[in-house]
Symmetry: C2
């Protein structure tokens, strides 16, 4: 009987590859920034004669329902049957990790509904098991996910580095639809781990990027943060490209956007690009430069968003009107 | 008193990185195809009161002259002063390794002028010391450059795999000028060796590509050859991209051309792309498909060349008219 809102996050230092696939234990630590504006709102109620879930106003697909209720089992073993109502307000094409906000919101709502009092780190460990990146959406601002050392994953969770008001940055998202088929990120990670000769070098070299990015965030040093972010991005995509067969997410417009960002840098604007497991390019910059950068990208890219840094998740009152619409009798 | 012609070559399995910079000993073996149509013609004569060289009708730059006469010293220690007249018939923008044909032709002309009788493998070792890829231009058709094991480099030379008439392939060259500054390849290699965490994985994983490509050439199996070539290309570019700072040769039109080639493959046309240390994309295909592929690329790329596989170098009569024009008194 609880509702929670969580925001997606974007990795500044990347997560790609797992040391334990079942527990979602990563091979590397990572650092993210939580986004504003976009969010997932999720309600969990123990008032349904059988397990049923609605996603964005429609019954969940069997695959999604299975993931949702498996996650509830993890949080509340021996739980009653439940209804779960979840909706996200951002376009799938944005290529933002919707599973990060989805599993963060579901974890908090389920724990609250069960009356469990977990610490944020414990919630982060639980969210991680639904979707790795979700463990970073337990806080706003800047978050580090330490890979951890323990086999049970109890030390592999997010840590809050700095709140949103520590640094007024923007994330400009250039939505580039390459029209290619999506490969689910877990599948892509496993394929990379199994076939790329460069995977090991990626895992061994990532710690430097994490510590430089952490330090840069603390010092509000955008150039150092941007360099660590681009380095981490290029290494992650190098492992994808050298998988066999290769996974190449870069489209021609993605490379055009990288070039545009590098042109802007030569003009003195501190702007830095990153990409995830898709063709979109996300640019980190100071607030004062965001509109100028977005305009530059709109020359070739139809949809360009300017996002602020977001807050952590919130508990909110249940939306009784929505609840009345999604009922199983 | 001799003139030789040699053709440039394109690596199908890539050469990137040196185990000995002075001797141009590579970290990996590589495989190339020699090109038709394009060539360098070079004359060496011992009839000049001082060392002087002309390149493409103009006096050589001091840097080029230094390289040329250092190479003559290597081939003929204690040689007389010389004049060297060399010209290439292909556009610099094609991004073909002009140093491969240049040092192959210079090596042969200088050895002939000195009356030295070297084996092709010995000439290949000498050409290698001028420019690594030149050691593969000592033969036509398909050539393997074995990295070798000896410290003096005497076993690091080309080996003839198959002549041009073994397999009637074409190389379609899409000339994409990204307008970026050129980084000389030796400088790029050293930067990669010193800073990319993925360099070692590249050197360790390349042997598989070499043996698969060699086998595919013998069997005339274009799909296997193409896969090995793309894999080798992606790994080479992965080491460049993960150097610090990164070297990214891919331009948006390069990626567009890759996508076009992959589209054609989905339509049943066996076409495979490669790139070297520049933005151009080179496509390997059967003769019957070359024009169709070139037309497809001309949608976005102004200059697209269709090249045949070429022959080995040749000794030719001296061009007395040219020689009369370039004289030092």
């Amino acid at each position: 009987m609880a509702t929670a809102i969580a925001h997606p996050n974007i990795a500044l230092v990347k997560y790609w590859g797992k040391r334990d696939v079942d527990l979602n234990l990563p091979s590397t630590s990572s650092i993210s920034v939580t986004l504003d504006s976009f969010q997932t709102q999720t309600t969990v109620r123990w008032d349904s004669p059988r397990d049923v879930a609605w996603v964005d106003g429609k019954p969940a697909t069997p695959a999604d329902a299975k993931k949702i209720f498996k996650h509830l089992d993890l949080i509340t073993p021996g739980r009653p049957t439940a209804r779960v109502i979840t909706k996200s307000n951002f376009p799938v094409a944005a290529g933002l990790a919707s599973s990060s906000s989805a599993f963060a919101a579901l974890t908090i709502a389920a724990a609250d509904a069960a009356g469990e009092r977990f610490s944020p780190e414990e919630l982060s460990c639980l969210a991680r098991q639904g979707s790795g990146s979700a463990c970073r959406s337990l806080w706003g601002g800047f978050v580090e996910w330490r890979r951890g050392l323990l086999n049970d994953g109890s030390d592999s969770h997010g840590l809050h580095l700095a709140p949103r008001d520590h640094w007024d940055l923007r994330i400009v998202v250039a939505i580039i639809d390459g029209g290619q088929k999506k490969m689910p990120s877990t599948k892509g990670m496993i394929h990379t781990m199994e076939t790329s000769p460069m995977y090991q070098a990626w895992t061994l070299s990532s710690d430097r990027d994490v510590s430089e990015a952490r330090h840069a965030i603390m010092e509000r040093d955008l150039e150092s943060l941007g360099q660590a972010m681009e380095r981490s991005t290029l290494k992650m995509h190098a492992t994808m490209m050298t998988a066999d067969p290769p996974i190449r997410y870069w489209k021609s417009t993605s490379v055009w956007a990288m070039d545009a960002v590098e042109d802007l840098r030569r003009q003195g604007i501190s702007a830095w690009w990153t990409m995830d497991a898709g063709p979109n390019v996300k640019i980190l910059c100071e607030a004062e430069h965001a509109e100028h950068i977005a305009q530059r990208l709109r020359v070739l890219v139809d949809e360009v968003l300017v996002l602020k840094i977001g807050e952590g998740p919130q508990r909110v009152p249940d939306d009784e009107e929505a609840l009345a619409r999604f009922v199983v009798r």
